[in-house]
Amino acid sequence: MMERIRVPDELRGDLQHAVICTFGANLEFFERDIWRHMTSVNNCVVLADDRQLAEAWGNPEGVDARHVNISYVVAPIRNPWAAHAKLILLTGPTRGRLLVGSGNLSMEGYASQGELFCKYEVSPEDVSALGAFHAVKEFLEGLISRGYIDQIAARHVEQAWADSPWIYSAADGPRQVRHNLDMPFIEQLAEEVGDGPVHELIVSAPFFDEAAGALRQLVDRLNPARLLVLVQPNETSVAPHALAEVLKDHGAAHVRSVEAERQGTYLHAKFILAHLEGRSVCLAGSPNLSTVALSRSDPAGNLELANLHSGDPSSFSHILDALEIGEGDVDIGQAGLKFEPSPPRIAPPASVLLAVLVGDILTVEMSAQPPADATPVLLVAGSEFPDAELLEMDGVGLRFRLDAAMLRGAVPIAIQLRAGDDFVETPNVYPYHEESLRRLLAGKRNPEILRRTSDLDLQDDEIEQLLEELDQVLLANVESVWRVAGKDPRSGGPEEGGETGANLRWDELDWENLRRHPRLAQYASARTSESYLDPTDLQVILTSIAQHFRREETPSPGKTHVLLDDLEEDLTAGTEPQTEEEREEQEKADERRRLSIETRNRMALRRFATRCIQGLSDEAFLDRVGPAVAVTNAIILNHLLALLVRRGWLDLESAVAFQIDLWRFLWGTESHEGYLASLDQEERDIELAQIREHAADVMTVAGLLWAAIGSEELSIESRRGLRDTTRALLVIPELALTSSLLDAAVAEIEPELPPHVEPRDALRALAEETSEYERLGALAEAAGAGASAHLEHAVVMRGGRQEGVEFVALDGTSDFGQDVARRVFEEWLMIEPNRIYYRIDHPTSRSVAVFDRALNECWWAQKGGGDVADLSAVTPATRPWREVLDTVLPTERQQARSA
C-alpha cells in the first residue's frame, strides 16, 4: 500500500517563501501546529475565501491567532464565487515544493485520513515537475491580475517568485496541475481523456450540486461503459433523487459506500478516475462534483485547482485500495444521503477591503463610500478604540491616528458607521502591520520578536525563534559574512572553509560591495536617529535595549488594553489536578513538553553564542568588519547572556563560559588587552559611548554579580575563571567600576534576586576566594624565587599554653631573614585577613616567624636560642583589584576604620 502523506512534515526544509491557498483557514491551528514546521519560511501568505474568512473572524474578538498580518499575511480572495483552490507552495532560491490537493488549512485538511494531495518538487538536480509550479504561478498571477487579492498580499506573492529564479526556466512535459481560470475542468479532463472509449468512470466527492448536473455532464461528455459513484453514507451531500436519475439514465451505473481506514474519518477528498484502453486518467484536487466547480470557469464558477494525471491502468489503484468500498450497491434512499445547500453568498452592506497600519496611522479602504451623514468609528476586538482620531475621510478611504502601542499583537478591527441611532458594522479584518511585513520580506520570520530582545519577555517556545531572528540580523562571524556575500560557506569543503568557518578565504570577498550591503550597513545606520526610513532590525534591537534601562512608569491600561491582555491568556494551562493520578499525568505531560522546549532552546542558545564568540575571537573578521560591528554584537550578546541565565533559559555553567570569553574580548584581562583598549582614542570614545548608552557596562557587572551569586554551583575551573575575570574587570579602566555602576547593576538584577541574597557580598567572596594551593603558591612567591610552601601542623607554646596550630613551612630557599618574613606576612595577611594565628617555619635556616593577632605580637626568631626580632608594623599587601573592591565594596571593618 502506498504511504500516506504527512502534510505538516512536508513544510520543513530550507525554503523561505510559502503561499497557501485554502477555502477556509483555521489560523489557530496554523499558528500552533503548522507554522512551527515552517522554520525557514519568513514570507508566508495565506489566501482564503473571503466569506469563509469573514465568518471565521466574525466573533468580535476575532480568532486566537497572535501573528496574523504581522508575521505572515492572511488575505481574502474576492472572486464572485467560492475561492476553493487548495495548495501549499514553498520556494527558495534553488528549489521548490508544491502540494496540490483537497485539504483546507485545518486539522482535518492537513492531518486526517480524508484528503488527497500530490507533491511536486523542483531542485537543481530535477526540474521535471516545473510545469506544476508554472500552473500555480499562472493561477496566482491570475488572482492578482483579476484584482481578487489586495496589493499587500500580491506584493508578498510576487516576492516569492522574485526570489525563486528557477521558476522562470522553461518546463517540459505534461502540465500535471490545472486551474479553471480560463477553462472548466470538465473540458480539460475530456481533453486529457481524448477520443478513446472510457471503460469505467469512478467518481467520489463529498459535495454534488442539487441536480447532480456536473455528474450528468461528466457522464454525457465521457460516455463511460461503466459508472461507479462512491458515496459516504450519512456524509455525502447529494440529492438522492437527482443522483438516481443520472444513474438510471446511464444504465450501467453503480453506487457503492465508501469509508476511510479510520472509522469516523470524513472523506473530503474529491477525485475522478477514468479507466481507458491501456491507461488511466485521474483528476484529484479541490473541485467537487458540482457545476460551479467542474463545469464552469472563473468568473462564472468557483476558483479551483487540481492534479490531472495520466498513467498506466494501475497507476491510481492505490487511491481505491486505501478505501473500504462496499461490495454491493447502496440503496440511495436509505444511505443517509441528503443534499446540503451551501449558505447563500450575501455581501455585507459595508466591508473593509484593506486596512494598513503604518506607525500610528491606520488607513482603511472601504468597499463603498460611507453615507454623508455617517460617522465612522473604529472598533478593535469588538470595542470602540479609545482616542482613535479620524484624520481624513476621502471617498472610500479613512485615516485614523491611534496609539499603535495598544494594537500590539494581532487584533481584528471593524468600522462602525453611525448615523443617528442606526449603525452599520463591517465584518472584522486584521490590519496589515506594514513595518513588520516589510521586515518579513527582508528575511525576518517574526519581526516583532526583535523588540523583545531587551527584556526577553518571551514564552519558552519563542526563544528559539528570537535566536533565529538575531542570527539573521547580526553579522556574527565569518560565516555570516559569507552568506551576505551570497556564498555558501560549506560549499568549499573543509579545507576551504567548511562548516567551522575557520579557514574561509577572505581574498574572495568584495569588501567594497559588502560594506554597502544592508546587513552590514545597518551597523552604521543603527547608531543614527536621523533616519526617516523604517528602523533597521539592529536599530529595533538597540533601541529596545536602551529603553530597557530608561523605563518609565507605564500608563494605566485602558479598556482595550485589558481586553487585549485577556486575549493573550494562555489556554494551555489546564485545571488543577484533583487526584494523585491526575497530578502524575500532568507532571509527565508538563515534563515532556518542558524538556523538548528546553533542549531546543539550549541547543539554539549555544549555537548562537558560539557563533558570536567565534566571530569576536577572530581577528581577521574583526579587522574587516570594524569596531561598530564588533562592539554592537558584544553589546547584544552581553545583554542576552545576562538575561538568559537569569530567566533560567541558559545554565550558569554555559553562560559563564560564554561571558568570560565575551568579557575577555571586550574588556580584556590582566594579560590580554581588550578590544576597546586596542582601539585608537577616537574609536574608543565612540564605542564607549555606545556601551554606556546601551548600558553594556551595567549588564556586565549585573552578569558578574549573578554569576557570583551562583558560583558555588560552578565547576572548579569555571569558578576560577570567573574569579580571575572578576579581578580583571575590577581594574579595567574602560569599565571603570564605581559604586554607582555597581548600584545600577544590583538594581538591574534585584527583581529576580532570591530573598536573603546579597550580591555585593557574593562578588567580594568570589574575588577574594583562593585555594590552598594558590595561597601557598603566593606565599612561596613572596618568599623569593625557587621557594615552595606547604602546610604542617604542630603543637606550640602560645600565650603560655600548649596549642595545636597549622603553619606554613617554606622550602627551596636558603634565605628567610626578617625582610623575607615580613614580605610573606604581608602577602598572607592580604590573602587571609581574618586569620588569628600566622606562623612560618623555615626548616633550612631553622627560623620561624609568627604573627599572632590574639596576642598582638609579631616576631621572627631563630630556633635553638638564636636571635629574636620584633616585626612591628607589618601591614597587609594589596593588589589593584583589592583596592577597587575596597573602594566600591568596603567591608564593615574598612567602613568603621574610615569613619
Partner: protein, 560 residues
Amino acid sequence: VNTVQWTEALYRPSGGQDHLGLGSVSSDRILPLLAPGINVLTPHPRYWSFYTFLLDEFWSRDLPRTRKALSDFYLPRECIFSIGAQLCDRPEHSSSGAYGQVIGSQKTAPLVAHDLAEYDPHFAYIGNDLGGYGYYYAAAIASMGLISPAIPAAGLPVDAPTPEGKIVAQAFRDAISDTTYYREYFNDDTRLVPVEVVRDYIRLACLCQLRIDQAPDRSLLHDVYLHGGDLDAAEARRETLRMMVDLAVQTDGHPLTEDRFRRLVYFRADGEGAVFQPSPATVATARRWRLLQAREYFSYAALRLWRHVCLWGSGETDGGRFGVPMGVLWSHVDACLDSSSLADVLHVDTPRFTGDTRISELLQWLDHLATDDLDDPWQIDGVINEHALYRVGTAAPERDAVVPAMLFILLLLSARLGSPALAARFEKDWDLVRFGGVRRLGLDRFLRHVRRRSMAGATLRDMARWIMQDYVLRQHDRVGASKLRDGDTFRFRQVGDRLRFMRFDAPAGMNDSRFNALGWSVVDLGLVESIFGESHGLTPVGRALLEAGDLDERGVTGAR
C-alpha cells in the same frame, strides 16, 4: 514520480480534562486570592511540619546537596509516615470522619491491609522523586515562608528550611524525638521497621495529632497559617479560616458536605435547615466566596451544555461514525427550549417559555429573585434556583431539559449579578467576576453581553445559539486546538457545516469547592472539633479567632 496520495492522521486521540478551559479561572485565579496556600491537595497542616522537619534533617546531615540525595533521604521517611497514617489508632484519627488525602495512601493502604509485621521504607508508594512534598505541598509551604525552593543559580541547590521553617521543624522533632523510630530507624533507612515501631511513632507524628493541645507545633502553625508569607495572602487566608469557623458554628447540628457548603456560601442556606448568616466580621469574605460559587455555576452551565452536545452527538452519529449538519444540532437545541420539560424535572414554579420568548421577559420574571445587595440571603426553598438547576445536570439519564436548565442558570446569574449598579457598588470584589476575560469566558463579559442582547430583543433561541456557538463549540475548539501538541482532546469539531464527534467520555462537574481542604485545615489546626459531622464544637482557640479575627501566636513570624 508525482502521484496523488492520501493524507495521514497525525494526532493521537487523548483523554484530556477541562475541555472548555474554565477550571483554571477558579483554581488558578480566584482561589489563590481567597485561600492562598490551601489547595485541593494540601488539606493537612501537619504536612507543613513534617516536610519542613524532613528538609531540616536532610540539611543537618553531611549529604550531597542534590535533588537525588534529597530524594533518597526523603522517600523512605515519607513512606513510613504514609504507612503509619494508615495504622494510626488515636481517637482524633477517626473522630472527624475518615482521614482522607494522606499522601501515598493509594499504595500504602492496601499494603497495610496485609497486616505485615515489618515495613520496608523503600516500598514504592508514590511516583514522584519528592513524594507528596514535590507533588503538592512544596509550593504551599514555600508560600507561607517555611521553606525556600531550590535556586541553583543563587547557590541553593535543593530546597531548604528557612529560619522560620527550622522553628517548626524543631517543634515536630520535639514531638517525635522520643520514639523508637526516630531514635533507631530514622537515620538508617535500610532497615525494615516493625509495625509496632511505626505505630508508636505515628501516635505522635500523625496528621491528626496536630489537633491535640500538647502538639508542640500547633501554635506555631497557627502563626504560619494566620501570618505566614505575603501579608495580603496571610490576611486572605486568615479571613477565610475565620469564615469557616463562623460557618461551622452557625451550622452546628448539620453534617456538612461539599454540596451543602456550596449552597451555604451561595444562598446562605442549604434548603435543608442549615443557615449561614455571616457575622459583620466575616461578611466581606463570605461575599467573595459567594462570587466564586457564582462563577462555578456559570462554568458548570457551559460545561454541562458541552456534555449535552457530546452525548447528543454521540447518539446521533452512532458513536461518531459520521458528521451531523449544524442545522440538526440547532433543531435539537430549539426543540429542547420547552418549559414543560423543565417544569417536569424541577417541581417548582417556572415561567412558561418557548424558543421565541424574549430573554428580557425571562429576566423580568426572575427579577423577583434578585436583590441589590451581594450580602443578602438568596432564596433557595421552593423557587427556581441555580442549585436545583445544577441538579438537573447531575441527574441521569440525559434529558433534553438539561439545555433549558443550564440556560436558566445563566439567566439567574444575569438576574442576580447583571446590574451595572451592583458591579459599581461592589467594585472591590468585582475582580473575581472579571476573571477569565475572553479566552476563559469571564462572567462579567457574559453579563454584559446578556444585557446587550436582552436590550436588543434577543429570544431564548437566540441566546441558546449564542451560548452554544460561543461558549460551547467555539470554546471547545479553542481549548482542543491549544492542546493539540499533547494529543487530540477534541470531543467534537466543526468541519465545514458539520459537527464531527469522537467517542470519548465527556465529564462535566464543578471544580473542587475547597470545602474539604478548608474543613480539614480548621479541624487539624484545632479551631473546631469537627465540621464534617453533625457537631461542630468550637475550641477556645477557634472562638478566639472568630471573635478577635486573629490569634496572638507569633512563635514563628515573630522570630524574624
